[in-house]
């Protein structure tokens, strides 16, 4: 942990110092997302966190109490209906994936081309490497004016939109999202002050994701998620499954 090159952002330089609090789960939701965004690109912090988590776990080993038998039964019957996640394979993108197109309108063909590419190459999760520059995602999560709107979806999944007007960008964090129905995708939208919905990218196909929305969010009045045909749509074709109102 001698690498303190992250001095470009006001708050980002001391993000390393959160490693201990992260290891004992003493970060709030926003700090946790921010630190995990940092972890994805800081090998020093990953090493340090691994050691500190190992250490913290020792603290909890001291008072063993056998759980009641019904817990065992519930666990062993519960796993019957849970599919273990596949292992991470070397060329797959990391847990956190950058939105797949550049700014602008979604063009179905190019999206498909980029998706094909994404399967074959390592995507840099935050669009910046260890060059010491905080990524746009990190800057949003660390910004002083970060505004956070949380929603639990009917499926039990949860999603949080973090908006920074000063950065002009928004980030969505998802937890436990079910996969989109076969042949469909989750598309994100930024709502303009006039009420129009502007495409803001397609959510990566994973249950827990951190994604930077495309487009200028400095004036956005809301963020929506809809289910769209594969490749996405230029405008929503169904009612949103989640709508996040952003106060101006």
């Amino acid at each position: 942990m001698t690498d303190h090159r992250h001095d470009a952002g006001r708050d980002v330089s001391d993000v390393h110092a959160l490693s201990g609090a992260y290891a004992v789960d003493a970060l709030d939701e926003l700090e946790r997302a921010r630190f995990e965004a940092h972890l994805a690109q800081c090998a020093d912090c990953r090493d340090e966190v691994a050691g500190l988590q190992e250490t913290a776990a020792l603290l909890g080993l001291d008072d063993a109490v056998a759980p009641p038998a019904p817990v065992r039964e519930a666990v062993l019957s519960g796993i019957e209906s849970v599919r273990p996640l596949p292992p991470r394979v070397p060329h797959a993108p990391a847990r956190v994936v950058r939105s797949l197109t550049s700014r602008g309108l979604l063009v179905a063909a190019s999206v498909i081309a980029v998706l094909a590419l994404a399967g074959a190459v390592v995507l840099n999760p935050f669009g910046s490497s260890d060059d010491g520059q905080p990524s746009a995602t990190e800057r949003v999560l660390a910004s002083d004016d970060a505004m956070r709107v949380h929603q639990t979806l009917p499926s039990g999944a949860s999603a949080t939109v973090v908006l920074s007007r000063s950065e002009g960008r928004a980030v969505v964090l998802t937890d436990d999202m079910d996969p989109a129905p076969s042949g469909q995708v989750y598309e994100l939208w930024l709502q303009t002050p006039r009420g129009d919905m502007v495409p803001a990218g397609i959510m990566p196909d994973r249950s827990d994701a951190v994604m930077l929305l495309e487009g200028d969010a400095s004036q956005a009045t809301g963020v929506g998620i809809t289910v769209e045909p594969e490749g996405g749509s230029p405008q929503p074709t169904s009612d949103p499954i989640a709508l996040f109102a952003l106060d101006s």
């Binding site: 609090a21 909890g60 056998a66």
Partner: protein, 201 residues
């Protein structure tokens, strides 16, 4: 630590010798492939320690039961993500369980969890509920000795965070520390513990 004695009888798998760290890693690997029997052995080998931690954090028996289920389902789901190069299987499982427990106490805050706190906490744990602990007496002594070497401030901050489930900001307020210093104490304390115990060596 009243649990040095082995369980009489017990669950089918409990007496299996599969409690060596390398065995736990192997059981996780087999679980990732969908091996239910391996997961049952893993559960029996680890659940007293995980449950003990969950109970200490959430403090309430009924909640600990629920969190234990959540934690083990998550361990099953994520088994393939365990990387033996980054740490032990047990601490990986404890990390998942601890996160679940902390998330639970924070979301239950509004629901008045603390009402039932001391009721359960002060009930003695009966002997047949106390499982043998895998942490050897020697290891436990090393951890305690290492804890004793921390400053009071470091130890308090770590305990409030790890067992209390408080955020570093809340820990700072509880300990009358300037904002932002609790996270430093937690990190410094953990690093000292790590180096004293010799984790990862």
């Amino acid at each position: 630590m009243s649990g040095e004695r082995p369980l009489a009888g017990g669950e089918p798998h409990r007496d299996s010798p599969s409690t060596e760290p390398s065995d736990l890693a192997d059981l996780l690997k087999r679980s990732a492939r969908g091996d239910h029997a391996a997961f049952a052995v893993l559960y029996d080998a680890t659940s007293p320690r995980l449950y003990g931690l969950l109970l200490r954090v959430v403090r309430d028996r009924a909640q600990a039961d629920e969190v234990a289920q959540e934690a083990y389902l998550e361990i099953w789901r994520q088994a393939s993500r365990f990387d033996p190069d980054r740490g032990s299987a047990l601490s990986w499982m404890m990390t998942i369980g601890h996160r679940k427990a902390v998330d639970r106490v924070r979301s239950a805050e509004a629901a008045g969890r603390r009402d039932s706190t001391y009721l359960h906490r002060n009930q003695p744990v009966s002997h047949d509920e106390t499982a043998e602990t895998v942490l050897s007496t020697l290891d436990a002594k090393r951890v305690r000795a290492a804890l004793a070497q921390l400053t009071d401030a470091q130890r308090q901050a770590i305990e409030l965070a790890y067992f209390g489930g408080y955020t570093h900001t809340e820990v700072a307020a509880l300990l009358d520390l300037p904002l932002g210093t609790a996270k430093t104490r937690i990190r410094d304390g953990l690093i000292r513990l790590r180096d004293t115990i010799g984790v990862g060596q």
